[in-house]
Symmetry: C2
Subunit: 215 residues, 2 copies
DNA sequence: CGACCGTTTGATAGTGCTCAATTCAAGTGG
DNA sequence: CCACTTGAATTGAGCACTATCAAACGGTCG
């Protein structure tokens, strides 16, 4: 978890796979630093369609968007048994007043989330299905790498439907793309287990990079 | 402009239509509060495709995403002769340390920007072309209304290409949609001049609301 | 072992894109 | 004042991509 938050954590909270950490519309009071496990966030549009807006793993901060309206505006659900540090927002406000460094860190966290979403908008607005999936996989891969896990072989925690919703595709399209990438020798896929066989070609499909946080 | 920033503005800056206020990659130093005129922000993906990420008018804050990397990560271009207040970020940091209220306001501005992009992701990920344009127009309309202008009749400052880029559509599709909405008596469109003839039907197309800031 | 959820695969159709040709508006210069 | 230029917008035809509908398969957990 981000070091500047360590002093502020007030307890942990365990969340079972499938359970919600918070729901859209809940009163906002705390940020959550993921300490272990895996979360997805989603929201519902006026037509009732649910869309996944992000995936969060160790070190990522959940709840930033809640400050504005004093309500969380997404729902955060654990995709496996997970744990978070609970960081009450009032404490953060206070600490940032005392310590300039912490203040800046919070601003950076917020600002980084904005930048992340810029990239996602770019993906949703201008990439085709295969590019989207490639970019998504590279992002996941890089994040696993940073956490010390293999970046070449990993386990997807989310369903094809989750991926599709996040990328603006149907689950069938996602499934077909996995099959196609496998046939071409770029990936080895078995259910949710993914192995990257040809990183260079995967990067070429995505238009290159695979960094940036909080996919 | 947001009242909490008034005390911090250090001068104004005029920007001619077509000129850039800042470019992606420039060193970050200030936020800008739009005081008059109209801006678009855009960024470039790895394939070199440019995409519009937002439109900004009086009262909106530009540059928030620059805090994270100490670099602006979008380019802000004036779509007509415009004016901004320049608010140096170090001053903001300092004020937020002294005044809890200002600190919270900044957090809210950042957080609101995150929420705005959530909605845009929803739009890009799950709405069809016509829904997107309807939602876009309602958003613009509402914002003009808040500024005291007519919400039923207004002048688009951006080209069809800008709108298309923002909505993840081609300019031809945008143009066709305008024609179609006009034929159906929902809008009266002449070039960039738009008049809403049937608000209810426009809202129905979008799935209802038209609020939320910084479209 | 059976039930259930998730995934894969196929066939078909629809939506929006691409390419291309006009039309239109606003300037510019003769 | 009017040809001419230029950038934007409109419109059309055909097609590519992805969604939709449908069926079968697989893995996992009671």
């Amino acid at each position: 978890m981000p070091s500047w938050l360590e002093a502020l954590a007030r307890g942990r909270r365990r969340v079972r796979g499938g359970a919600a950490l918070f729901n859209a519309g809940d009163r906002f009071h705390s940020l959550y630093a993921v300490h272990g496990g895996f979360f997805k966030t989603s929201m519902i549009d006026d037509e009732g369609r649910r869309q996944v807006t992000g995936f969060f793993m160790s070190g990522d901060l959940l709840g930033l968007e809640g400050i504005a309206a004093a309500l969380y505006d997404v729902t955060a659900v654990a995709l496996e048994d997970s744990e978070v540090f609970v960081v009450p927002y009032p404490l953060i406000e206070q600490l940032s007043r005392d310590k300039a460094a912490s203040q800046r860190e919070l601003h950076i966290a917020l600002s980084r989330e904005i930048a992340r979403e810029h990239r996602l908008m770019l993906l949703l607005g201008s990439m085709r299905a295969e590019e989207r999936l490639a970019a998504f996989l590279l992002n996941l891969s890089a994040r696993f790498g940073w956490l010390g896990y293999s970046s070449a072989e990993f386990h997807l925690r989310m369903t094809r439907a989750d991926i599709g919703s996040y990328l603006g595709l149907t689950l069938e399209t996602v499934s077909r793309l996995f099959s196609s990438l496998q046939e071409r020798g770029i990936l080895a896929v078995r259910q949710r287990h993914v192995r990257v066989l040809d990183l260079a070609r995967l990067q070429a499909l995505a238009g290159s990079p695979g960094d940036s946080a909080q996919g």
